[in-house]
Amino acid sequence: MSAHLPPEGPARPNPFAPPQPGAATPPAAPYPHPGTVPQAAAPQQPPDPSAAFSIRGLWKRFGDKAAVAGVDLDVPSGSFYGIVGPNGAGKTTMLSMATGLLRPDFGTVSVHGGDFWSDPVAGKRSLGVLPDGVRLFDRLTGEQLITYAGLLRGMDRAVVAERTADLLRALDLAADAKTFVVDYSAGMTKKVALASALIHAPRILVLDEPFEAVDPVSAANIRDILGEYVRSGGTVVVSSHVMDLVQRMCDHVAIIAAGRILAAGTVDEVRAGQSLEDRFVALVGGRQSAEGLSWLRSS
């Protein structure tokens, strides 16, 4: 695993990182009609074999709506990559396609240089996934669930037992190890799902909304764990709504809206001197004036 990349920017040029505000790739061109097929003729960079994830021309349509409409993205190996976007932007759809939960309509996903969808089993071995909006096997206890995830990965019983105990301790779940997950709070459920994603020590972690409903202390603990993991050479991809968190925690960020990448690169490149939140609002748009709901005022 290569050394941690300096936050000033990747050594190799990232064609998708906008050097200047306004030069972001997709807004410059008008959006194609959601029903149109992406043009294969469009010049496309070959996948970057050194990247943890290298996504090219990814499309997914549900009915008439293109949830992901031609996404190109490189996640450098060893980066702490934040994916931000408004509700319904396609974050979850994109991450699902990158982790084997959803088959793309078009496009390729390479994981450490290997084509993911031609051999998903090999790709899944190096991925730890925390999906958003799925249930857990909640009739198991927390301890059983983490053990189950480890055993499903084909791990040895002793190793699973040891790591399960470590994870429960690190995520403040030790006291509730033998409680059924169905009785967990939302934050505890997130944490036990995170533990299930970590048990096999993957090279890449893909976490969809990992901090949702998690209390501040646990969130800080999780941030420490993830930071340590990145420093040791792992790659983390997180999606979040919380700009402030991404700005502080991540070294790279991509802004996604309406199924397209509006900007991607190191955090400093993307925010271009502004706060990430201001930059995000400027790129995505959609702020309403405060006049709106006059009848809602209580006096």
Binding site: G100, L101, P120, D156, T179
Partner: protein
Amino acid sequence: MVALFVRLRLTLMANSFKRSVWQLIGFIVAVLYAVWIVGAAIFGTVTGVDADPRITADVVTIVGAVLVLAWWVIPLFAFGVDATLDPQRFVTYGVPRRTLLAGLAAAGLTSVPGFSMVVLVLGMALAWVGEPLTLLAALVGGVLAVALCVVGSRAITTALGPLLESRRYREVLTIAAFVPIVLVGPAVAWGAARLEESGADFDAVPALLDQVASVVAWTPLGAPWGLAGAVHDGVWPLVLVRLLIAGVTLGLLWWLWDVSLARSLVTPPTSGAGKGRSKGLGWFDRMPATPAGAVAARALTYWFRDPRYAASIAVLPLLPVILLVAGGGTASEILLILAPLTAWILGYSVSADIAYDSSAFALHVSTGVSGRDDRTGRALAVGPPAVAVVAIFAAFSLGFMGRWDLAPVVLGVSLGALGVSLGVSSVTSARLLYPVPKPGDSPFKQPQGAAMATIVSQLVGSLATVVLSLPFVALAIAALITSSALLGWLTLLVGVVEGVVMLLLGIRWGARIFDRRGPELLQQVMSYA
């Protein structure tokens, strides 16, 4: 407000058609079927009244009572609480309970069965158009009957809803609900005996019908249907009593519904699991530490902790009783099918396994567990316990009949049926998914609009099982007819070998589908949620 509920119901129905063409096709099939049945019933009543009003009134009373009973009992087993308009969803809106009840009742009528009932009673009343007073009575009775159906089914499912979620009560209730079904056998036997007494003469049929109808019309089930007949005969005290029975029952059911709805609105559904804690790793310590072993351990844990699994085999402890009653309490040959039937039910119980996982199945997809491990694990969770149960049931039936000589036949068919149905289930649970109650929901709460996919999947599964079971079933029948010990042992051999082969083939085929369609399966179960 009531109109709002009806409109909501219609909107939900229309939206379900937009989501899937199959739902629309299923709806059209249901409508055509209803038109046919209702049309035939109305035609029968009209011509019947013309020919012999007395017999027609009796038949209407008996059939009507069965209809009401069906409205009350079937939802407990087949369809559960209609989830389309779950009262829980209206909790935050602060709808007055009286309005909510009226709205839900009206919405209950806004369905194919509800609408069919209305048309049916109106059409049947028209048969009496020659006698204005009887026509009026038939209309009043019909309205009462429809109200009894709708309010009764709602009251019973709402009142029993909380009980259905707890395992202890569910078993008691299943037994209680089986009583009417079990009574069908003796009732038929009684009818046959009466018929025989009177010399097996077809002339005796009207008298018998009259006897049955006069009993049924005293029950709340038959009383509203008997109104027209009583008016036709001009027995006014009887009219009054039947009106009273139907009216009081309706009032009681409405009260029951009101009370249980009030309680359910302030008692949010619980997981049924309670605040439980478990010692150690349970099955995960006892099964081999392989992916397949882990899948089996997880499935076994769910068999004990998830009421939906227990519900799918709730009928098993009752099966010997039902067969004993069906056989007239004697050691009749019908007991022979006890073990094979059990084997089939057990093998079939995993046919919706992935749908039961719901979106938790994402863990299997994201960890990249192989189809072989997934299929093997799930079959492994059922197989050995099922063999034990089947062996016990086989021993019970053989011992009860004192026919130990038939052991090879019974065991051969049972083990063959178990292997075949497990093999078929291994394929269908990966290929023909259908919506099932969600984890934590009542096992009797069928998801809306699931009927078509469920029917297709179960039909294909059962057909495949029957066809594949033919070799050893045919051998078994031959062995029973000829009383040949050799054929009996041959049944055992063929059953066991074919069962094992079919199980392995099913796992292999299911595994291939699983490997190819993993992400699609996940999307499918997620679309149910």
